[in-house]
């Protein structure tokens, strides 16, 4: 079996990191080429890599030598636009790393393609008139644009990525259910593979200037408002008497407006000695903070992810992690992470912190459970073991889906509209003849 594995492959891409792990295992069972968009800081690879220079020239004929194409999708436009465009011409398996792709498509249509009409059509096709109204309202800038509000989770647009795909992989059950609700093809949930660097951490707490004797709380990642760092600072400020020994570090880049807001909070609660915002940090620094952390705080509300690489990373480090009880994190066992209810951070976070800070044994227990669970679950070998039968299942459906595609092309040439009887009758004939579990012509017809 020959597989083309499309992924960003920069050192900066978490998806690239995950791909490297998977491919390393997958190559034992298949010949794998990594296809990646142009970027700096490419990862080293033990398989052949192909750089995508001109995505518009990569058409099905160029990929005919592969038995299967696998596309990794995240919502960061620079990493994923080429992959998206190629995938829409040459379908394969989609691995969805994120749940919300609205930011990707908004940027793709409005900025990159400069085609607001396409954005509106996309929203209408997926969400009907309500979607169209939201799009129009965002374009008119009457309200804050949709993708900067929490309501964006109701318009995730992952549907637009997978419409023509032969199969979909996600990394959480909640997302698998959402995909199944709108996609007729094969869907599977696999645990996201991840690892942590094997090299020992050389930086000490002192190197990091963490005050001696303090309890180190750490949040890592791109600090967007949905990571609730502002909530965390506020909780620390309002409960400073109960949470005396803490030292909180938020590690990761942050957009200026949010950075300003966080700084203002730090000043307001007079937390300058207890809270640090590092901004962008190297992998080495980030790893050092996590490895010295006593407690990791990893909240999301709303959650745009399909699974959380940072939570997994913290678990692999054997840390007690406080998470929001929603989406991917709600699926983690209760004895591996500490969950607080979304929207209840102000009430529940102080108690959770208080409990952990006061009980070293509890911290160790939770951390050990987390590590054991994560090592067993989020392992590339396991991922590939479960991916292979799924690949087989998908491939057993491809000829019929390709037939459906060819018919869709014919119907398109005929100018057949969705309301015409032919669309229904051809679906019925295909069901009668091939009784395929899932063909879903209506979803695949580009009309």
């Amino acid at each position: 079996m020959k597989i083309a594995w499309f992924t960003p492959f920069s050192e900066q891409s978490a998806i690239g990191r995950c791909s490297a792990l998977v491919v390393e295992q997958l190559k034992r069972f298949a010949e794998v080429d990594i296809w990646h968009p142009k970027s700096e800081n490419l990862r080293a690879s033990t398989v052949r890599t192909v750089r995508i220079d001109r995505p518009e020239e990569i058409v099905p004929a160029n990929l005919a030598g592969y038995d299967l194409l696998v596309y990794n999708f995240g919502n960061y436009l620079p990493f994923h636009k080429d992959i998206f465009e190629i995938s829409q011409r040459s379908p394969g398996i989609a691995i969805l790393h994120d749940f919300v792709y609205h930011h990707f498509f908004a940027q793709y249509w409005l900025t990159y393609r400069n085609n607001p009409e396409a954005y509106k059509l996309t929203m209408e096709r997926r969400y009907g008139q309500a979607g169209r109204r939201e799009a129009e309202s965002s374009l008119a800038r009457k309200n804050p644009v949709l993708w900067e509000t929490d309501r964006v989770v109701d318009y995730p647009l992952f549907e637009d990525i997978i419409g023509r795909m032969y199969g979909v992989v996600v990394h959480s059950n909640f997302f698998a259910e959402k995909v199944r609700a709108c996609y007729p093809g094969p869907v599977t949930r696999l645990p996201l593979p991840y690892d942590i660097p094997q090299t020992p951490v050389t930086l000490t707490r002192a190197d990091l200037s963490v005050p001696e004797g303090s309890i180190l709380l750490v949040t890592i990642g791109h600090l967007n408002p949905n990571k609730l760092v502002h909530q965390i600072i506020e909780v620390l400020g309002r409960n400073r008497d109960r949470l005396k020994e803490i030292f909180y570090v938020a590690v990761g880049p942050c957009d200026p407006a949010y950075q300003e807001r966080l700084q203002a909070l730090v000043t307001q609660f007079d937390l300058r000695a207890k809270v640090r915002l590092t901004g962008y940090a190297t992998d080495e620094l980030l790893t050092a903070y996590v490895s010295h952390a006593d407690v990791c705080i990893n909240l999301r509300h709303p959650s745009f992810e399909g699974a959380s690489a940072s939570v997994i990373e913290e678990m692999l480090h054997g840390k007690p992690v406080i998470v929001t009880n929603g989406a991917f994190c709600s699926e983690l066992p209760d004895d591996c992470v500490l969950k607080i209810r979304p929207g209840q951070e102000a009430e529940e976070l102080p108690n959770a912190l208080h409990r952990l800070i006061g009980d070293g044994a509890a911290r160790s227990r939770l951390g050990a459970n987390a590590r054991n669970y994560a090592r067993e679950q989020f392992h590339a070998e396991r991922y590939v073991r479960e991916l292979l039968p799924f690949i087989r299942e998908v491939r057993e459906g491809i000829p019929l889906l390709q037939l459906t595609d060819r018919i869709a092309v014919e119907l398109n040439h005929m100018g057949a509209t969705a309301g015409m009887d032919i669309v229904q009758s051809i679906s019925r004939h295909m069901d009668e003849l091939f009784s395929p579990p899932r063909t879903g012509l209506t979803d695949r017809t580009p009309i």
Binding site: M1, D67, I391, R392, E393, V394, R395, E396, G397, I398, P399, L400, L403, R406, I407, I426, H429, M430, E432, L433, F434, S435, P436
Partner: protein, 347 residues
């Protein structure tokens, strides 16, 4: 009665199905029915099979005629409320040839998808047919095995059996068939190498388009010194009248293909001419017609056994004649006739 007969064809490649379908059409017309005959093109290329299968399904003959008789797959998927299948063979690479060197689907999950889709489509056709006939016991067993469906055997008759006559019991064994390797004309010649009498062998038939090498091999073999010119080859299409004359004057006929699905018209023609038929134990469908030492010989596919059967017929012309007579009767016993065929298909 208004009847539509339909089959699929590979243009310019004559197959048994086309023959059966066009003879059936003529027989129906001669019996006073109004018949329209459709031969729809079909490419066996695996990657195009599903599209074409669906195309056949999209063809609706529902309000056309009181019966649809469908012969070769996938004509069995044409739409008609009163559809009768006379199933000649499966898309064999999706069935009994799967896993053999003839398998043309790739050995991949995609290949399995094609195979299973074809099988499901067949199931749909079997499910909606009013009656299911097939052309041999071999086929009935295969349909039962793969599709779990009972098909009734309806042996295809010759359109004009009465043209075959019996003149003399001559000194030659006749092998009339396409010249192609799996018909094993070579084995018949090898049999001749073991004969001890002056029996002769005449091999006649159109060489297959790609069988030039095969023909040369046959000719070389036929010119073996030991044979003393007792084997002749007529490597061309044999006009009907010539065939009738050759059959009328032969000692007996031989038909020893490898594993055929049906008894084959050559055996039937020989019997109508009152001639015995030598066949082989691994010839498949011929065994449904020929019984050893009754209306011919059923011998192992080895040259010595074949040579012995030839000699025995040569030495004992009475035996040859008696076996030929029994062959004629055997056709009656099996109910191979146009009347029976029409009666069953239109019942």
């Amino acid at each position: 009665m208004k009847v539509v007969v339909a089959t699929s064809i590979s243009p310019f490649i004559d197959g048994g199905a086309t023959q059966i379908a066009s003879w059936l059409t003529q027989a129906l017309r001669e019996a006073g029915h109004e018949v329209d005959f459709f031969q729809l093109p079909f490419s066996p290329l695996y990657s195009e099979v599903l599209d074409q299968t669906l195309a056949f399904r999209l063809i609706d003959l529902s309000d056309r005629g009181e019966r649809l008789i469908a012969i070769r797959t996938p004509s069995h998927l044409l739409r008609h409320p009163f559809k009768i299948l006379w199933f000649i063979h499966h898309h064999r690479t999706a069935y009994d040839l799967w896993g053999t060197r003839y398998q043309d689907f790739p050995n991949t999950p995609e290949g399995i998808c094609y195979r299973d889709a074809i099988r499901r489509a067949d199931a749909a056709a079997f499910g909606e047919a009013r009656r299911i006939f097939c052309n041999s016991g071999v086929m009935a067993a295969r349909i039962k095995k793969f599709n779990g469906v009972d098909a009734e055997v309806l042996y295809p008759p010759l359109l004009r059996p009465e043209v075959f006559r019996q003149d003399n019991c001559g000194d030659y064994i006749l092998y009339v068939s396409r010249l192609t390797h799996h018909k094993r004309q070579w084995l018949a010649i090898q049999g001749m190498l073991h004969t001890k009498t002056q029996v002769r062998l005449i091999i006649a038939g159109q060489p297959d388009p790609d069988s030039r090498v095969y023909l040369r091999e046959l000719e070389t073999l036929a010119q073996s010194k030991e044979l003393g010119g007792r084997v002749s080859i007529i490597p061309r299409w044999i006009p009907e009248q010539e065939k009738i004359d050759l059959l009328a004057n032969c000692l007996a006929s031989i038909y020893i293909p490898l594993d055929e699905d049906s008894y084959g018209y050559p055996s039937l023609e020989a019997h109508h001419a009152g001639k015995a038929v030598i066949t082989a134990t691994d010839s498949g469908g011929t065994l449904e017609l020929i019984r050893d030492r009754e209306n011919g010989f059923v011998v192992p596919p080895d040259p010595e056994a074949i040579g012995r059967a030839m000699d025995e017929l040569y030495r004992d012309r009475n035996l040859a004649r008696t076996m030929g007579e029994r062959g004629r009767r055997r056709i009656g016993e099996l109910g191979i006739s146009n009347e029976k065929m029409l009666q069953k298909l239109l019942s």
